[in-house]
């Protein structure tokens, strides 16, 4: 118990240090606006990748509709701040909840399907959501919503990303999260261990969608404008790429690859023509040499860092 509290304190101090250093660099303009945009984008991508990893990596349900949930969060939160003039924190929360509810509604019928069929269905649902926004005049139709106040900054993104990571990690390390992993490993066996597989699949889907909605809300308040086109299936693939590259079933992997890919994407901005070529080549190389992703299913943990010799359990308590 004491050890756990000590570790938690250590982690918190570490996080606060990271936050503080970047915040100082940003406020003293050592890192200019260009950096801030990309750092914020990294944070948003971390939220999206970690939440998709819960669905695809941990629960093993191949979803391709993450951009759809993100767009629900983005639009809902934008309506709340921009149209209704309500505060930003409320917008983030409601954005997440709206996406979560969509997750339940889409999850219940589609999670009866498996593998490729589920992937196609979620892809379809993602597109349906996009088309609905495209044809809703209230949110600007194809030209989208513009003039959304810019509330998203380093502080918001950092702490929302931390909350996302901590909550999803805690979930996975709980008995409920283990049920989800069991479903990935062997659905029949999971069911005969007393696990209601439909319920846990939907639960994972809902939690994933909730955090995707939060990511969307942060996204909407970062770029002044949101359009349905932003949330097409390419966006879903981008998030999926981060998850697969980092390792299906590793939160650490998702975080690292979200940072890495956002970085690469930003660096290559100067070489517009070559950008996608280099980006794709990079992915191919990584996948050739690390087909299980950068981290596989391994996680970073303080315990392992301090006791290198000891074989550590993937799911032990911190």
């Amino acid at each position: 118990m004491k050890q756990i509290l000590k570790n938690r304190l250590l982690i918190f101090i570490g996080l606060f240090a990271i936050y503080g250093i970047i915040q100082i660099l940003l406020s003293t303009s050592i890192l200019n606006d260009y950096y801030e945009i990309n750092i914020v984008l990294m944070g948003i991508n971390i939220i999206l990748a970690v939440s998709l990893n819960l669905i695809n990596g941990f629960t093993g349900q191949f979803s391709l509709g993450h951009a759809g949930f993100m767009s629900i969060g983005a639009y809902t939160s934008a309506i709340i701040t921009y149209k209704l003039g309500l505060p930003f924190p409320l917008a983030i929360l409601v954005g997440g909840i709206a996406a979560g509810i969509a997750g339940i509604l889409i999850g219940i019928p589609s999670l009866r399907l498996k593998g490729d069929y589920l992937a196609i269905t979620t892809l379809g649902f993602g597109e349906i959501i996009r088309v609905i926004f495209l044809n809703t005049e209230y949110v600007g139709g194809a030209s989208g919503l513009s003039g959304i106040p810019k509330y998203t900054n380093w502080t918001w993104v950092f702490w929302m990303a931390v909350i996302t990571i901590v909550l999803i990690r805690n979930f996975i390390n709980s008995s409920y999260g283990r049920c989800c992993v069991a479903i990935r490993e062997d659905e029949t066996a999971a069911e005969s261990m007393g696990i209601n597989t439909t319920f846990y699949k939907t639960l994972a889907f809902t939690i994933g969608a909730f955090f995707a909605g939060i990511g969307g809300a942060l996204y909407a308040h970062n770029f002044y404008i949101i359009q349905p086109e932003t949330f097409n299936f390419m966006k879903s693939f981008d998030i999926l790429t981060m998850v697969v590259l980092g390792g299906l079933g590793s939160i650490t992997g998702s975080i690292l690859s979200a940072i890495f890919l956002t970085f690469v994407y930003a660096v290559l901005q100067d070489y517009a023509a070559l950008r996608m070529v280099i980006y794709s080549l990079l992915l191919i190389v990584v996948m050739l040499f690390r087909p299980e992703g950068l981290m596989g299913t391994k996680e970073f943990s303080l315990k392992k860092l301090f006791k290198k010799g000891e074989k550590s359990n993937e799911f032990t308590l911190n």
Binding site: M193, G194, K311
Partner: protein, 266 residues
């Protein structure tokens, strides 16, 4: 009082009758064997008891209640099973395999697992202790942090039994627990099964091809062939039953007799 009673159970797969009027009664605390040649329908019986298949007719009463059509509900009622082809959570540790099976007895809620309250920490701690104790019984505690797929075959079989027991069942269904084991491992398994029946005070129904294990272990034996129960009795009765011998050693004799009787009749 019987714990499980199967009454007139039949199931059709397409046009094929896989089970025909199967009746089985299991007394509380008994150790019963279900034997028969390949394709006799033994595993189908298991799949119906656990709710994976829905019978065409007949019913299964467990502990005074009709079984559910959802396997996970039947686990909650107190039925646990192992699989003919081992179905462990291969990429997870041995300990996690057991802890997953403990889920139906989880002591903390979803909310406290998100925030890792004291309730969560206590719950995890007692789960860990319980799981380790169970692994100790099966001599698997030294492998607790190894991945299940890295265990030798015999230990994987033992882990599957340990995992089934972690659900705290009243009835344990073992589907060919000794398959692929050498005589020494089979001997150990026999002791283990007897030990868990006494220690956990449960009822066991097992499917097995290894006759020495069945005859040695079971007090009561049902024999199936072509979807029917062809014999029921103690090991000694079963050994001497001509129909059972015929089912196992071929039906040449009976066929000849039948042919003779047909010829005689004509």
């Amino acid at each position: 009082m019987s714990l499980l009673s199967i009454k007139d159970l039949s199931i059709d797969f397409g046009g094929i009758r896989a089970l025909i009027d199967v009746n089985i009664e299991l007394e509380k605390g008994s150790l019963t064997g279900l034997i028969g040649p390949n394709g006799a329908g033994k595993s189908t019986v298991f799949n119906i008891i656990t709710g994976i298949y829905k019978p065409t007719s007949g019913k299964v009463i467990f502990d005074g209640k009709s079984i559910s059509q959802k396997p996970y509900n039947n686990t909650k009622l107190g039925i646990a099973r192992t699989f003919q082809n081992i179905r462990l959570f291969k990429n997870l540790t041995v300990l996690d395999n057991v802890k997953i099976a403990q889920h139906i007895h989880v002591q903390y809620g979803l909310f406290s697992s998100f925030l890792q309250y004291k309730k969560y920490l206590d719950g995890e701690k007692s789960q860990n202790i319980e799981a380790m104790n169970l692994l100790k019984i099966f001599n698997l505690d030294k492998h607790a942090y190894n991945l299940a797929k890295n265990l030798p075959y015999g230990e994987q079989r033992r882990l599957e039994i340990a995992r089934a027991l972690a659900t705290k069942p009243k009835l344990l269904l073992l589907d060919e627990p000794a398959a692929g084991m050498n005589p020494q491992e089979t001997k150990e398994l026999t002791d283990t099964i007897r030990f868990i029946r006494d220690k956990f005070d449960i009822t066991i129904l097992l499917i097995e091809h290894d006759m020495s294990l069945v005859m040695d272990l079971c007090e009561d034996i049902y024999v199936m062939n072509y979807g029917k129960i062809i014999a029921h009795g103690t090991p000694d009765e079963i050994k001497r039953n001509p129909e059972v011998i015929a089912a196992y050693l071929g039906e040449e004799d009976i066929d000849e007799k039948e042919i003779l009787s047909i010829e005689g009749g004509a």
